[in-house]
């Protein structure tokens, strides 16, 4: 730095903390979403909630933060944006004290996709998993659609992050400013000749008030949604004949796990039930068959009732033969199923600790180690 250059604190502390916290949150979200096994879902969800908080904070700080954190300071006209890109192509970009136009566009894109990704995630959580504030408002179909959108958005986000890092690298090379260091210590160097503005300070009290008001409002809305009972879950009475007659040999499967037609076929073939004679008295059989017909998959709208409704044609009442079951357990080795604590493919509740109530929450998966 020569004597003619000046150092200016461009990024205030909250903006810098926001930036690196967001890196951490999104990093956790992407890792747990793409790589980690299902039972990390709890952490994925918390990373999502954390991202929402950070994004909301940034938008509020974009109004009340210090000069270069304010959104108005990095809204550029199309003309300025095109000019900046042209300068980039000719490798001579002009120096901006705050965000340059390319960086600003990246910020808006990231904020937009982060909002979209968290909203779609909340819909997946409520629709498919029947959890979270939208468990009542979102049905399975909405959740299923949202889950595909959520995945596409995640890939877009990954691409944007890649472009963001490349952009920072290129601008750092072309302007010989260390942008990464600026985002850590907050300082940027003002080149000689460039007029140094009189930056406006932040208004933390206003920001806090606004954030509090927003949190109360958004919290109340989500709370109101969360009071709705989870969609697609019905009241079911217990049937002691079903519990004892079927439960003597195997786990008492939740009736929602197979469609009516499958239960009917199963009940008609008890003399050869998965290679064993499981025949029961006529009156018991009638009672159990009618119970299963009432509470079969068709009566529910849960992830399990939807997924297992597509049965295998060869084994129409074997849950572990359904395409979905096969796909989801593909990675799990035979040795795991042979463990005494697991007890085979037919024993859902060994690992799915909430299987008996027809839920198969990702967070409730715990595979016995032996």
């Amino acid at each position: 730095m020569t004597n003619l250059e000046k150092k200016l604190r461009v990024w205030d502390l909250p903006t810098r903390i926001f930036h690196w916290s967001l890196v951490a949150m999104v990093g956790i979200g992407l890792t747990t979403g793409f790589i980690s096994p299902e039972w990390w879902m709890g952490i994925h969800i918390w990373a999502g909630y954390g991202t929402v908080l950070l994004v909301v904070f940034r938008l509020v700080w974009g109004i009340f933060g210090s000069e270069f954190s304010r959104i108005e300071t990095f809204v550029f006209t199309p003309h300025e944006i095109i000019a900046h890109i042209r300068e980039l192509i000719f490798l001579r970009p002009r120096h901006y004290i705050g965000h340059n136009p390319a960086g600003a566009m990246m910020i808006f894109a990231l904020l937009f996709f982060l909002i979209a990704i968290t909203v779609s995630g909340l819909l997946v959580l409520g629709g498919e998993e029947n959890q979270g504030p939208l468990a009542g408002a979102a049905n399975y179909r909405i959740g299923d659609m949202a889950s595909e959108i959520h995945l596409v958005l995640a890939f877009i986000l990954l691409t944007l992050i890649g472009l963001h890092i490349i952009g920072v690298f290129i601008e750092t090379r072309l302007t010989s400013e260390n942008l990464v260091k600026s985002m850590i210590d907050g300082y940027k160097i003002i080149p000689q000749g460039q007029s140094s503005p009189q930056p406006r300070p932040s208004r933390p009290m206003a920001a806090a008030t606004f954030l509090l008001a927003f949190t109360i409002l958004a919290g109340s809305v989500l709370w109101a949604f969360s009071t709705m009972p989870p969609s697609g879950i019905i009241q079911m009475s217990k049937n002691s004949d079903y519990t004892t007659e079927c439960g003597d040999c195997h786990e008492v499967y939740h009736p929602s796990l197979l469609p009516k037609a499958s239960w009917a076929k199963l009940m008609a073939g008890l003399e050869d039930h998965f290679g064993e004679d499981a025949s029961i008295d006529q009156d018991l059989s009638v009672n159990i068959a009618s119970y299963l017909e009432i509470y079969a998959a068709e009566a529910w709208d849960t992830e399990a009732s939807n997924r297992f409704s597509r049965v295998s044609l060869k084994a129409p009442y074997q849950i572990s033969a359904t395409p979905y079951w096969q796909r989801k357990h593909n990675d799990i080795g035979d040795d795991v199923f042979r463990r005494a604590g697991v007890g085979g493919e037919a024993h859902c509740s060994s690992c799915h600790r909430d299987a008996s109530i027809g839920h198969f929450d990702d967070q409730k998966i715990k595979i016995p180690v032996n």
Partner: protein
């Protein structure tokens, strides 16, 4: 402990112990009646020895997945077994599980089904009497 408390304690303990022993006695007599019924039907004395052979030998005349009783019931009458669907089966021996074989309906149901699964046919009254006599002796 004062005298009243002592009296109450002894009375309660007596009633409880009495209740437990009565239920064991009645369970035993219910089981004996079931075995007696099969012995009568068979028309000959039951043999624990034959029952042991029936339980432990590899028969293989029924369904391919269940060649013997011990496929699911554990290697001996005293051992815990497991159904093919992963559910634990308490030992068959009466000494290990006093609740065994006291409900004729239940006994008949399991003989009917499991004999078909293992032997490919219903068991004879003699086989049933032998089997139960063996389990009672263990």
């Amino acid at each position: 402990m004062n005298n009243l408390n002592k009296t109450i304690f002894i009375a309660t303990a007596t009633i409880l112990l009495g209740g437990v022993s009565i239920s064991i006695v009645s369970a035993n007599s219910a089981r004996d009646a079931i075995i007696e019924g099969f012995v009568d039907e068979a028309g000959m004395e039951a043999s624990a020895e034959r029952g042991k052979i029936l339980f432990e030998s590899n028969i293989g005349d029924g369904k391919p997945d269940t060649p013997s009783c011990t496929t699911c019931h554990g290697a001996t009458a005293l051992k815990t077994g497991m159904t093919r669907a992963g559910k634990v089966i308490e030992p068959m021996a009466v000494s290990k599980n006093p609740e065994r074989f006291i409900d004729l309906k239940k006994v008949s149901k399991w003989f009917r089904r499991n004999c078909k699964s293992v032997l490919g046919r219903e068991c004879t009254p003699q086989e049933k009497a032998d089997f139960l006599t063996y389990m009672k002796s263990k």
